[in-house]
């Protein structure tokens, strides 16, 4: 069943060339402006003909650059602003969380703010009373409930605010970029809570710049660009395409014209790409699947021993590793002129979640010469699932590190005290 139907939704803003008349004084002084040249209004379409259908129970991530229209869409669906044309139909009680702690008042105590914020978010008083203990327990700030929140640290404030929000129980939950707050442990709790909400069959619309959270939580994602839906598909693909458009580096790059291809008169690079284990081009990889880096190059001189190599960088520019081609078949073998295609396989459960960039080079020994070394020729995204069989196990929050291997763990009992009650 469709729970949200959006038809031709558009929102137009006027960008005035001059300053907007924001005071009565300006209006009075500008009363005769129309006699002069007509003020030119520039039209900005924050949203243009958005058509969208969301099924009951879906968790949909919305991504896009700042100013692309994501927040405008959420605000229209939350009824905060009106569309210019088109319509949206919501078949369910809608709760929106565009900001954590809306309506909190600094002079009031934590307890008072729970009721205030709850009501503002659309909970009935009885509902809040019923969930009060849960909210307090979730926030972990029991002992400060009677303190005015102006004395809270920002962390405590966030905890309290999110706890109220997390206990909202609407059929449609609209969430704007709220995971950027709180410490790691609390973020983890929040992500788990969002998963729970979704598992209860609630529909979630979720804007975030945290691509990893999007791929972890959402099956479907929508990329909004310049007010239009650029792509609407499964979350991995959308995030992958979006990121590569941002990076201006795609999963494959080739040089058709030998003249301009990188390299010298010994070897030239023709093509670099990343693909899955079946050899199909891909830009997004499940962490549990291997990644193949493919490079095609032309050897222009006979009788040379040539070593292709590969480097992987993460999005902070840190080199994750360098790998040389040690394949016995070619390691000491002199090559004939011709075109070669080499594959390097990055094993499954090795790279962490995130964006990675490929650099390739080719070297000959005696004398040691590098014939080409191209950085950022291809990029790909690794995503981690929440299915429990990757290195993250059942943990849903952010994990540090640029690699994420599954290690063997063993535990031995050194000394035992007490008795474990086995409930099995």
């Amino acid at each position: 069943m469709k729970i949200i139907e959006i038809k031709n939704l558009s929102k137009k803003y006027f960008l005035r060339s001059g300053n907007r008349k924001t005071t009565l004084r300006d209006v009075a002084l500008g009363m005769f402006d129309f006699l002069k040249n007509k003020e030119k209004k520039k039209v900005l379409w924050a949203l243009k003909n958005i058509n969208l259908e969301i099924e009951d129970g879906e968790t949909v991530g919305i991504i896009g650059n700042n100013g692309a229209g994501k927040s405008t869409l959420l605000k229209i669906l939350s009824r905060i602003i009106k569309p210019t044309s088109g319509e949206a139909t919501l078949h369910g009680r809608t709760g929106s969380l565009l900001e954590v702690g809306t309506g909190f008042h600094r002079e009031l105590s934590g307890r008072e703010n729970i009721f205030l914020n709850g009501a503002i978010l659309g909970m009935k008083r009885r509902e809040i009373e019923k969930k009060y203990d849960q909210i307090v327990a979730f926030s972990e700030i029991e002992e400060f409930l009677e303190t005015p929140i102006k004395h809270y640290s920002s962390g405590m404030f966030t905890r309290l605010a999110f706890s109220v929000a997390a206990h909202l129980d609407p059929e449609i939950l609209i969430v704007d970029e709220i995971l950027a707050v709180g410490d790691l442990a609390f973020q983890r709790k929040c992500l788990r809570k969002m998963r729970d909400i979704n598992e209860k069959g609630r529909t979630i619309l979720f804007v975030s710049h945290n691509m990893q959270a999007i791929t972890r939580l959402c099956k479907r994602a929508i990329w909004i660009n310049n007010g239009e839906i650029q792509m609407d598909s499964n979350a991995e693909d959308v995030v992958g395409t979006y990121l590569s458009s941002q990076l201006k580096t795609s999963a494959r790059k080739s040089w058709n014209d030998l003249e301009n291809a990188p390299g010298n008169n010994t070897a030239k690079l023709l093509e670099v790409g990343v693909c899955n284990e079946r050899g199909e081009n891909a830009s997004t990889f499940d962490i549990r699947k291997p990644i193949l880096v493919e490079m095609v190059y032309k050897v222009l001189q006979n009788e040379r021993v040539l070593m292709p190599s590969l480097q992987i960088f993460n999005d902070q520019g840190i080199c994750v590793f360098t790998s040389h081609d040690l394949d016995e078949e070619w390691r000491y073998r002199k090559r004939l002129k011709g075109t070669y295609r080499s594959y390097a396989k990055i094993p499954a459960n090795f790279l962490a979640e995130g964006n990675f960039f490929v650099a390739v080079s080719a070297t000959t020994y005696e004398p040691l010469t590098e014939h080409f070394n191209e950085k950022d020729v291809a990029a790909f995204l690794v995503t981690d699932s929440l299915e429990g069989d990757s290195a993250r196990g059942d943990y849903a929050g952010p994990m540090d590190g640029i690699i994420r291997p599954i290690l063997n763990w063993e535990t031995f009992v050194e000394e035992k005290s007490g008795r474990v009650i086995d409930d099995k």
Partner: protein
């Protein structure tokens, strides 16, 4: 968990709605937000200043005392047999309520920007909550007025039962001006600077501390376009049994209704842009 069936609740978001329509069902649905806005206003106000309550009482009392001293010095005023102190104080009870509500409400939407731009609820609640949170003060000063009346030996008649009617009248006057001014203040940010001045003019143009009799009879109907005029005439009629000019009261009631309709119209028209303007 409330397990309502999903098809039961459907909401359509469309560009425009009728400007004059007030969705009473929706106001009722969101009523708890209104209670909480009022409750929050009160709680914060009385938490911050211990003098809060005292101030509420002192303002009209001091104003009344000063005027009483001045006017008795200059030979007294014809107030239809009512002691001038009571006459002026009754005027200030109503005026202070309207004055405080309107000046609180004028900046309310801007002050609650965070709410207005992040959450949906009927926007009217914001200025309306200023009008609502003024009520306890009104009751308090009214109580003092009754005590003073007993002190001066003014006999209460059955008409006292009509007092709530005039309090409601005062509420409508405060509400209509609050809606109008608060929405204009979002659009024109200098409105808030002229509000104190306008309120002062309004006060002097209302028979608060002087009787309507000071105004030449033929101008009285024009004077009654100011809702406060009829409101105070009626209020004093039920309190002290003053003579009542029904034409004045009628004009003021009609004028109030027209202002209220106009205010709702302006508010509804501007409401959709609040989040974009703030």
């Amino acid at each position: 968990m409330s397990e309502t069936s999903k098809s039961e609740y459907t909401f359509k978001i469309k560009p425009e709605e009728s400007w004059l329509r007030i969705d009473l069902k929706e106001l009722w649905q969101y009523r708890e937000v209104f209670y909480l806005l009022v409750w929050r206003d009160l709680k914060v106000r009385y938490k911050q200043t211990l003098l809060g309550v005292l101030w509420v009482i002192l303002q009209p009392v001091i104003a009344t005392l000063i005027l009483t001293v001045i006017f008795t010095k200059f030979g007294g005023i014809e107030t239809g047999g009512t002691p001038y102190v009571l006459f002026a104080f009754s005027g200030f009870v109503i005026w202070m309520y309207v004055n405080t509500s309107v000046s609180q409400a004028s900046n309310s939407l801007v002050y609650h920007e965070q709410l207005v731009t992040k959450i949906y609820f009927p926007r009217m609640f914001v200025p309306a909550s200023s009008v609502g949170s003024g009520l306890p003060d009104l009751f308090l000063t009214l109580l003092i007025l009754f005590v003073a009346m007993l002190f001066y030996g003014v006999l209460l008649t059955w008409k006292i039962l009509l007092v709530p009617l005039f309090l409601f009248f005062a509420l409508l006057v405060a509400l209509s001006m609050s809606l109008l001014i608060s929405s204009l203040n979002v659009r024109f940010r200098d409105v808030k600077f002229i509000i104190p001045f306008l309120l002062q003019v309004w006060m002097f143009a209302s028979p608060i501390f002087y009787p309507l009799g000071w105004v030449p009879e033929r101008f009285q109907p024009i004077f009654a376009i100011n809702p406060i005029t009829g409101l105070l005439e009626g209020f004093r009629y039920v309190l002290f049994g003053n003579e009542l000019n029904w034409v004045v009261l009628g004009i003021s009631i009609i004028s109030t209704i027209l202002i209220l309709v106009l205010s709702i119209f302006v508010f509804r028209k501007m409401e959709d842009d609040f989040a974009d303007l703030l």
